[in-house]
Amino acid sequence: MPASTIQAIDCDVHPPLPSTRDLLPHIDDYWREHILRRGIEADSFETTAHPAKAPLNCRPDWRDGETSQLDGLRERLLEPFGLRVAICNMLHGATMVFNEDLSAALCKGVNNWVAAELLDRDPRLRASILVTPHSPANAVQEMERLAPDRRFVQVLLPALGEMPLGRRYHWPIYEAAERLGLPIGIHAGSMFRHPPSALGWPSYYLEDYVSLATGFASALNSLVTEGVFVKYPRLKVVLIESGVTWLPGYFWRIDKTWRGVRSETPWVNGPPSEIIRAHVRVTIQPFDDPPKAAQVQTILEQIGCDDMLLFSTDYPHWHFEGTDAFPDGLPLGLHEKVMVENPLATYSRLS
């Protein structure tokens, strides 16, 4: 009997992407002309990081049918899970376009589409703001435009971009996020400006996907060592679709490194694991479960911060069956905290 998810706040949901033609009404005149002139409206912005029909990304009973995006969300997610809120993260490749202003225009179109087609039509839905990671000025502009709409609860960045996320180049985004009370959601995925790892380009999607956990580790290392949390002490970061069970080994390693290497980055004023516990949250799907449920308790003790865990289904990605969204072995006593309290504490705009 799966644990109840009634009234949960689902912190990671992926509505199917609108076609680029569907975005056109939500894009201003200039950019609509630009796009049509170049035939870009015929382009798909599905990302290499998330091929929509790959089995991992599409549970068989959640496959796109004849229903509209919204009906699909209601029938397959909101109703069966009894969700209070679902935060929509659009895995849209608008962010990849090298032309910074075209990229920003497309991102803006996606955000406008989300507001009109999803947020306006179901009060349970919220969204992350899609921005241009490689163009901080444009990103800040979009954040400031949408901040007054409290249904936008977070800013979305891909885990792997052109530069490690902590680099000073990105700081205007963090300054604005802190100021506007928007957590930064770092989502699984790469812009593939670089190969997924130092080794170069793997052959298979399975390799790319599994390697993402190491990508998140490198993103966190960058945020911590560059001092982003020292400079922006009220900034919150959420790791979305990152995996969870790699955290303990990661904590041990970065704390050990810090004790010897501290003087290179002296603004890192405490063990990195503690900085991360204070500022970073993580969605629970995929959990990357150990083989025995009892090991989950050990992992949680090693993570040492139940506040970090945020409920998510990662719909429509295939990590569990039915409504069995909680990892086996996650103590029942934690469920309410993970489903409701922690998301409310992380996303102040939900209250």
Partner: protein, 137 residues
């Protein structure tokens, strides 16, 4: 505890350390700007000869990019894993709030697998009497 003369004050120049052995213990005696301090020559981490490490200053930064050099010559860097210790107190920079066993008297903390806390170097009391440096071991 007994008191042992380990050097004359002139033997240990400011900014240097002399390793001595007393009652089978290796001790590093430091002259920090004309004050004397002593630490057991053993890093609490993995037993390195701590007192042979570099005598350095404290590198700090209140904000990324704002660099400060303070406490010149008052810090000791383990020659192995580079942990930094305050010569005066034995406290490690990385865990200043771990105050197990700061003095020569060993305290066993329940639950710790090491007899001494992992983040403090063992301090040896030092005094200067006339021209002599004296440790209490």
């Amino acid at each position: 505890m007994t008191r042992h003369v380990v050097a004359t004050v002139d033997e240990i120049a400011p900014g240097t350390c002399k390793i001595v052995s007393v009652k089978g213990r290796e001790i590093g005696v430091f002259n920090v700007n004309h004050e004397f301090f002593a630490l057991i020559n053993r890093c609490p981490h993995q037993g390195a000869p701590l007192c042979t490490g570099a005598i350095v200053s404290r590198i700090e930064a209140p904000m990324p990019g704002e660099y400060r050099l303070t406490r010149q010559g008052e810090m000791l860097r383990c020659p192995w894993h580079c942990w930094e210790f305050d010569i005066r107190t034995g406290q490690s920079w990385c865990e200043p709030n771990s105050v197990h066993a700061r003095t020569y008297q060993v305290e066993i903390t329940p639950g710790e697998t090491l007899a001494k806390g992992p983040f403090a170097a063992e301090v040896v009391p030092v005094s200067v009497e006339r021209d002599y440096v004296v440790v209490s071991v």
